[in-house]
């Protein structure tokens, strides 16, 4: 168990190491021009300048705050509605085709419309995130409901649970680990949605920094911005995975999908 865990950490680091070596090789030799890809040292310099001169930390904070607000709104809507869909065949027959339809529209295609409706301010950013996360998450939550074993529900019924008890005190606690894992996955979509929104039109945020640097041909800054998103995503993902057994000591390990 522990061994295989360290083995997987080792292999994961190995792939990063290989990428780093190839990257250094092609850039320091100027095999690839620095307009296309900076050397590791140029990248570090670019990143430091971003933080020192451009106030990058502020933009990271703004982007993170947008993610958090948009995400929380989406989750607060998606959990109860998803559970309702999972419980009621009629509700899911009614709403699932619509949800599926919207879910399949690529997020950037909706951004121009949202800008028409809400402008390019914070409201639009948050709605873009909430909308994307909500429509992905709601079906995952609905699907999780069906994983509750019939026997657990029946045993609650013979213990005197009402229908409301079954929903709030049996199904919800039982599927919480699954929902938690669904949340972990959907944070990725939140970032995708936000970057699209910030690149199309924003006065702050990581996405703005990236397009701005691109217009000025500051490739190191572009790459630094991109890597920042990856690092934030990785930290969130690892933190959530590490907290899983803390939040759900009773649950068997989930086969983390994606």
């Amino acid at each position: 168990m522990r061994r295989s865990k360290w083995a997987s950490v080792g292999l994961g680091s190995l792939s990063f190491a290989v990428i780093f070596v190839i990257w250094s090789a092609v850039t320091y030799t100027r095999f690839v021009s620095d307009v296309f890809l900076p050397t590791p040292s140029e990248l570090v310099h670019g990143a430091v300048m971003l933080f020192v001169q451009r106030g990058f930390l502020w933009d990271i904070g703004i982007s993170a705050l947008r993610i958090i607000i948009g995400f929380v709104i989406a989750v607060m809507l998606a959990i109860p509605i998803g559970i309702a869909l999972g419980l009621s065949r009629r509700a899911s027959q009614l709403l699932e085709p619509v949800v599926d339809f919207i879910r399949y529209i690529p997020n950037p295609a909706l951004i121009p419309l949202f800008i028409l409706w809400f402008g390019v301010g914070e409201t639009e950013k948050i709605i873009v995130i909430s909308q994307t996360v909500f429509f992905q998450l709601v079906l995952m939550v609905a699907n999780s409901v069906s994983f509750t074993p019939k026997e657990i529900i029946e045993s609650a019924q013979t213990l005197g649970a009402t229908r409301w008890h079954i929903i709030t005190r049996v199904i919800f606690p039982y599927i919480k680990p699954r929902i938690y894992d669904d949340l972990r996955i959907s944070i990725g979509w939140a970032w995708t949605a936000l970057m699209a929104a910030e690149i199309v039109g924003a006065s702050s945020g990581i996405g703005l920094i990236i397009v701005e640097a691109q217009r000025l041909l500051r490739t190191p800054n572009v790459v630094a911005g991109i890597l920042t998103i990856g690092i934030l995503g990785l930290i969130t993902d690892i933190t959530m995975k590490l907290l899983y057994p803390v939040f759900f000591p009773w649950a068997p390990k989930l086969e983390h999908h994606a």
Binding site: E151, E154, S155, Q157, T158, L159, G160, K176, A251
Partner: protein, 247 residues
Amino acid sequence: MLELIHVSKSFRSADGAVVPAVDDISMTISEKEFVSIVGPSGCGKTTLLRMIAGLETSAGSHIVFNGHPVHGPDRERGMVFQNFALFPWMTVEENIGSGLRFAGKSDAETQDIVSRYLKLTGLEKFATAYPMTLSGGMKQRVAIARTLASDPQIILMDEPFGALDTQTRSQMQEFLADLWVKDSKTVIFVTHDIEEAIFLSDRVFLMSPRPGQIKQEFKIPFGPGRNHELKFSDEFFALKKEIMRMM
């Protein structure tokens, strides 16, 4: 008092054929009686128990409990499921107290009853453990304690000791016999172990397979306070032989 009046149930199999599971069973069970239902696997024991619990219904079948027809599950008829069906996110004590919580009992009262059943089932040391960390025998005790704590009028038990090894099984049988003396309840106990049925019951119903009907009823003459010595008595052995012969 529980009355089963012409109770039948059939299922539709995957290929559309009608499979009778329970066929025209009538019986009356009085208060504080311990009744066993024995029969081979697939003869409809679980289905019958589920109908009594209200988890399965069937047009034309009547199950009347204390003068009221049974329409659905409720806390008057508690059920101990074959594979425990514990709540995995609750600790042992939370599981035992869950029925009391559903009934809206106060913290103090719940705590009180839960600690009584923890003691009764010898689970005090495991009060804060989660079900996944327990052995089969302990899970079974939690399941029994959980049902008892919610204070049903009838306890329905579906082969509760089926998954246990012989030794744990004997211990659990004695534990249940003992419990029944201390905390007298109506019990309907499903098993395919004839010895277990005789040891625990006032009456044993023998079911025949396909369609599930009651083949015969046996009165068990032993009084309360039984222990395993009883299993070696001539009277016990004679009864066992009689039932075996009917199967």
